[in-house]
């Protein structure tokens, strides 16, 4: 059944699983070893990985993928509100609804290609966002975001147990899904998604998508209908986004409209490109880097900087604090912008290309293409 995976691939999955599962320990020295951020790494890793199945393999740049994230979140929270706090149905609903949404949007948007496709997806996502923010408030609770309330029916839970005082927590058969258990739940989801993605990359279907990317026209001339393949890829990547959205709700039962805004769609594009388009690991790394910056850099303030530079004489310290202050705290966006520019200018293939270069320099590879099996799939964005 898994005949298309080589021994190296299995080792890759195993290695990946280990790296993910030990991350609470390994990331602590970097200040990232706390559940909320670790959860975000996994969730956005899934989101970016799914996005990459569409963008990386077929070259179709969707600028509205955040819509599926939002739909997944809303569906999951509604599952908590209506049925049960158990996360399994929530995840299923999230993926399912995002999938249905993706069928509709994908069917329409894939009638066009290139930037016209991008704008169509952007338009759909922006419509979803604007409506969710205002007119659809009965479903989405508008700006505040959809939250659990004490009045929720929760019919399945309430049929079996008397609700306690206060809001219930999301749980997996009794294990509350916040903090580290929540992280491990997301981590397992990430590992499963990674495995699935690897399989897609190695499957004939994946090859077909790559072929579409490299020469759609030629395939059209030969009378080959590419759209079913594209639509399938679109739906799969929409479902990944739905899963990510539902996991966001699992770890924090709230769904806000701004998850669907174009900036959120833009973010996943940035993550993917930053990490390395079309590579297996790249998007996950990209997601990690951006979330890390957002969480860690924005938390720096002048006081922390003062401490950091306390070894300097007064005048030099002031200059140092002022200068670094430009890039952290409220200036963290500036850092983000600068990093994007540096990466794109100097590392067109994203972080993965950087790693590949380091690997080659260390003598690990004797030439291009001799790197790790997953990076061999790396190719520049078209």
């Amino acid at each position: 059944m898994f005949g298309n995976l080589s021994r190296n691939d299995w080792l890759l999955v195993l290695g990946f699983a280990i790296v993910v599962l030990v991350s609470p320990w390994t990331l602590t020295p970097f200040g990232a070893g706390y559940p909320a951020l670790l959860q975000k790494f996994c969730i956005f890793g899934i989101f970016a990985m799914g996005f990459n199945i569409l963008f990386g393999l077929t070259g179709y740049l969707s600028f509205g993928h955040a819509a599926f994230l939002g739909v997944g979140s809303y569906a999951a929270v509604w599952s908590f509100k209506l049925f049960t706090m158990n996360v399994i149905p929530a995840v299923i609903f999230g993926v399912l609804f995002a999938g249905i949404f993706a069928v509709v949007i994908g069917f329409v948007s894939l009638r066009r290609s290139g930037i016209y496709f991008s704008i169509l997806t952007l338009a759909f996502a922006q419509m979803s966002y604007n409506l969710a923010y205002s007119v659809l408030t009965p479903i989405t609770n508008g700006e505040t975001g959809l939250q659990l309330t004490l009045q929720d029916p929760r019919i399945i839970d309430n049929a079996f147990i008397t609700p306690g005082e206060g809001l219930p927590q999301t749980d997996l058969f009794g294990i509350p899904m916040n903090g580290y258990p929540g992280f491990y739940f997301c981590a397992v989801a990430l590992i499963i998604c990674f495995f699935l993605t690897l399989r897609i990359f190695r499957s004939p279907f994946g090859m077909m998508l790559r072929a579409i990317k490299s020469n759609q026209n030629r395939m059209r001339y030969t009378g080959f209908n590419t759209r079913p393949y594209l639509l399938t890829a679109f739906i799969i990547s929409g479902m990944y986004a739905g899963l990510a959205g539902s996991l966001m709700a699992v770890t924090d039962p709230l769904a806000g409209a701004e998850r669907m805004q174009w900036t959120a769609s833009g973010e996943v594009v940035l993550m993917t490109i930053l990490g390395g388009v079309g590579t297996l690991i790249g998007p996950i790394l990209g997601a990690g880097v951006i979330k890390y910056f957002e969480n860690i850099f924005s938390s720096f303030n002048d006081r922390i900087l003062e401490q950091l530079f306390s070894f300097l004489p007064d005048a030099a310290r002031e200059v140092a604090v002022w200068f670094t202050g430009l890039f952290v705290g409220e200036g963290w966006h500036l850092t983000l912008g600068v990093v994007f520019m540096l990466i794109v200018i100097f590392l067109p293939g994203g972080i993965m290309e950087g790693l590949q270069r380091i690997y080659n320099r260390l003598g690990g590879g004797s030439g291009p293409g001799a790197g790790a099996p997953d990076t061999a799939a790396a190719q520049p964005a078209e």
């Binding site: 609470p24 320990w25 205002s134 508008g142 700006e143 505040t144 975001g145 659990l148 206060g166 938390s299």
Partner: protein, 448 residues
């Protein structure tokens, strides 16, 4: 209680044990669950507060001013500087040696004025940096979202600038407290002044930001004006961040309305007001009366953005630096000396909230959240710039005076943008907490 709960607890234990085995690091093995331990109770010689303010996005300037106020409050709590409102505050529990003898430290985060980002950043401060209390915010959506999170995690949330009725209404939480006034109180405060200035025979046209805060404000003001005998011509919802409002403003011209009420805040307010003036609404005569514009919620920082357009326009505000009571004076002096500019209303409410939390801990004698909540509920105090104030236990809303202000026609300084027309007293603004529904929920401590 049904026995099934018992069963569920059983599952929970097994599950949690599994979780512990999996997640062995840090938090799960940290200390036994003692009787009165709540989340992040400080164990060393410092106590960490989490200041969660918008540092990017449209409210970044307000966030910066809030942060200034927080830093000032920390200074005063630690016994540095001139003490500001600690000297005028009627509760004398604070000694200027930190809180309960622990030096106050703080961590900061950027809410980006987005619920998700705000919750992420609050979570970081709680999970990673050990903040025992979260405060801040410059929008109701964010306040409600963070308040919900804090309830789940058992961390006290002292709301910053949030004006929606929901924050202490239908979305109120046991762990959330608001010092700032709300849309309902704005309406009540404005009523008599509107009657006095514009009479009882008016036709009002509402432009309302299309989200929860806008709606509650529209509703509150509409109720007030209709009670005065005003007619509501139309209530039009405008998209948030529309930028150009011309297409919403032009219909006002021929609608027969003689009052325009802008239920906008922040950048939206600056834009819609600027453009309304541009369309000549202020110079218009309708039904033999001067056309008037009302902005129910004012802030000085926004007034600055609107420039001269603000002149003569009525609105309400929680507090203004021009107040001449001792407390306000002490605060303005202290803030002005530190930063060279007077504090905004957002800065004021954030400063007060920090002091109130610290004071509650002192009075409770512990950081244990349920006890601190108890100390805050139904707490009576004065000397914080809004006269005698009650932290109402039923909905965690402060009952205090608020201000009706007018854009200053003749300013004495760069910051002298708002003129206080009337200080509306606490009795007038007190309402029945039941009207907005909601449920505070339990105060039982959470470990984290």
């Amino acid at each position: 209680m049904s026995k099934l709960i018992f069963n569920r607890r059983g599952i929970l234990k097994v599950g949690a044990a599994g979780g512990v085995a999996l997640a062995a690091p840090m938090h799960f093995v940290k200390g036994a669950f003692a009787e009165d331990m709540s989340c992040n109770m400080p164990t060393g010689d410092t106590v960490t507060l989490g200041f969660n303010v918008p540092q990017s996005g449209p409210y970044a300037d307000e966030g910066a001013d809030e942060l200034r106020a927080y830093q000032l409050a920390v200074k005063h709590l630690n016994g540095e500087g001139d003490g500001g409102m600690m000297n005028t505050f009627t509760s004398k529990a604070l000694k200027g040696n930190g809180i309960l003898g622990k030096k106050v430290a703080y961590v900061t985060g950027d809410t980006q004025t987005k619920s998700d980002a705000a919750r992420d950043s609050a979570k970081r401060m709680i999970e990673k940096e050990g903040a025992v209390m979260i405060t801040g915010g410059s929008s109701s959506g964010v306040a409600v979202a963070v308040q919900g999170l804090c309830q789940e995690m058992g961390i006290i949330f002292m709301a910053g600038l949030t004006h929606s009725n929901d924050t202490t209404g239908k979305d109120k939480k046991r762990y959330g407290f608001r010092h700032f006034f709300n849309a309902y109180q704005s309406g009540v405060a404005l009523g008599p002044v509107l009657k006095e200035e514009y009479g009882t025979d008016r036709r009002a046209y509402h432009l309302t930001a299309d989200y929860t805060w806008g709606w509650t404000q529209e509703e509150s003001i509409k109720n007030t004006t209709e009670a005065l005998g005003w007619e509501t011509v139309a209530t039009v919802r405008t998209p948030v961040g529309a930028g150009d409002y011309s297409q919403y403003i032009t219909p006002v011209l021929n609608s027969g309305a003689d009052v325009l009420i802008l239920n906008h805040y922040g950048k939206d307010m600056v834009n819609s007001l600027t453009q309304a003036i541009q369309f000549g609404l202020k110079d218009k005569q309708v039904n033999g009366k001067n056309f008037e514009i009302i902005v129910p919620l004012f802030s000085r920082l926004m007034a600055k953005g609107a420039g001269d357009n603000i002149k003569g326009i009525l609105g309400t505000t929680n507090w203004n630096w021009s107040l001449d009571d001792d407390a306000s004076q002490a605060f303005v002096k202290s803030f002005g000396a530190e930063y060279g500019a007077p504090p905004s209303q957002a800065a004021h409410t954030c400063y007060v909230q920090t002091l109130l939390y610290a004071d509650a801990c002192e009075r409770a004698g512990t950081f244990f959240a349920p006890k601190v909540i108890e100390a805050l509920e139904d707490f009576e105090f004065d000397g914080m710039g809004n006269g005698p104030t009650l932290y109402r236990g039923a909905d965690h809303q402060c009952m205090k005076s608020a201000l009706v202000v007018k854009g200053n026609e003749n300013k004495q300084s760069e910051y002298d943008l708002l003129k206080v027309v009337k200080v509306v007293d606490r009795e007038t603004l007190t309402y029945d907490p039941a009207i907005f529904g909601g449920d505070l929920g339990p105060s039982d401590a959470k470990k984290c």
